[in-house]
Symmetry: C2
Subunit: 302 residues, 2 copies
Amino acid sequence: MPATRLALACAALLACTCADAATPYRSAQQILDASPASAWRTLDPARTLYMELDAGRVIIELAPEFAPEHVANIRTLAHERFWDGLSIYRAQDNFVVQFGDPDGEEPGKAKSLGSARTHLPAEFHRPAAGLAFDRLPDSDGWAPEVGFVAGFPAARDPKKGTAWLAHCYGMLGAGRNNADDSSIGAELYVVIGQSPRQLDDNITVVGRVVQGMELLSTIRRGPPPMGFYEDPAQRTQIRAIRLASEVPETERTPLQVLRTDSQTFRDATEARRNRVDDFYKRPAGHIDLCNVPVPVRAPTKG
Amino acid sequence: MPATRLALACAALLACTCADAATPYRSAQQILDASPASAWRTLDPARTLYMELDAGRVIIELAPEFAPEHVANIRTLAHERFWDGLSIYRAQDNFVVQFGDPDGEEPGKAKSLGSARTHLPAEFHRPAAGLAFDRLPDSDGWAPEVGFVAGFPAARDPKKGTAWLAHCYGMLGAGRNNADDSSIGAELYVVIGQSPRQLDDNITVVGRVVQGMELLSTIRRGPPPMGFYEDPAQRTQIRAIRLASEVPETERTPLQVLRTDSQTFRDATEARRNRVDDFYKRPAGHIDLCNVPVPVRAPTKG
């Protein structure tokens, strides 16, 4: 019988030499495998959150470059154990999971915010000046320029001089009501589907899940259209959310992230833009911002 | 305490009147609610698959316009109950779930394909001529033109005169090996994450999940990088896959799909391109092909 397995993504790890090219094609994985140590950075525990679920640990990198006020508040909330015992109370398919206090808007039932601030400015975007912006060669219809800033998918408007984080898979945002300054970082959501880029520059984005997305993406969905569970028993309990720097070193998860300003990252992205292997018959010559993975790994020894 | 719930997607269903606009803004939902019956079509049972899982029914619309040979073979396989008792044996986060015969490549263990064909031509694209192509005003970097054909997200190349289906969330494709004609429709995958458009025109796409995506998207992921389960016990069993036309009428799920060539669909898409409500502060003026939902509903009575 014919071979019919779907061999996507690693169909052909063998390099193929193009007759008229100076150097043979290397796949993104081959480029990563040959990366120098300098292409990787260790996650900073002071800007890393651990979300502890029964199913395991979700690891989040915070983005104080873009949302300093929200990130400061999130640090306070984690330090004071605001989320411990709260829940993921919404899961909308192809959109977001959302967590925090499901009773947050009910006076008398809402959990105390402790010493966290109860009002923050909107941090939808920031000045582009001062940011090292590693631009993708490709553009899309959502923003004049897209690329990466310090490991995060981002967009930039040269005319306005602003930059903002993009709503790709795994991005963490601060839920709000209609007022632009109605978020404080206590209610958060993570993108679990096709990137809802219409939210870009409309909401404060505070970070990105770097490991453990499969623990969030597989959570049972709530009822349409919004995915809020009707039965509280269906919520996913949050054991704890902690700053990694406040967790004993022996309990931390050592993790390295590929530097998005490294040649390795640029080369791997280019290899994905134009795949030359036995599987792909028509290289795209393009990549969408939200299709570019930012690899993580356990630290290498030695 | 401040209101901090994330009120995305239905934040403001009230129409807001723009001072200098001739007609008030209507949200996509308002437009759908006011749609005429003629904007909807009933799913054709002869091109509808029911995938029966313990968790419920996944409903798939087939696309014979684009992959006639594969769809014919899939009809044969369903008729002869090929998939009954087989499994979803792969789940890769932010990519695909894949199902069929996990032993399909092992002589002696592979399930018989019955009277299905064991070789088919690749059906990556087809002539654009003869297709009603409802083009989106927006473009992306993956294709010269994008839009909808008979309910499916699609792309078109006017220079080459070809059209093909786009790998959006929920699309169903035929797994293959390296040879372009190595798929026969027995091993299938569904996109469960950010649209992997690099696969467009590189693989035969055969349909789209129109209901029940949450049953596939929440399936426990297999181990990286490819998501094939190591322990067969972790696979999700398939009770049956049937053509709706071969299921007794009393057991069918009546379903209507919004016609993508209707004014309602165009108006709803435009309302999503430029959201004017109390939540959005900066309308995008854009939508990505894979961000356009194709609504379904139970048939209205009367």
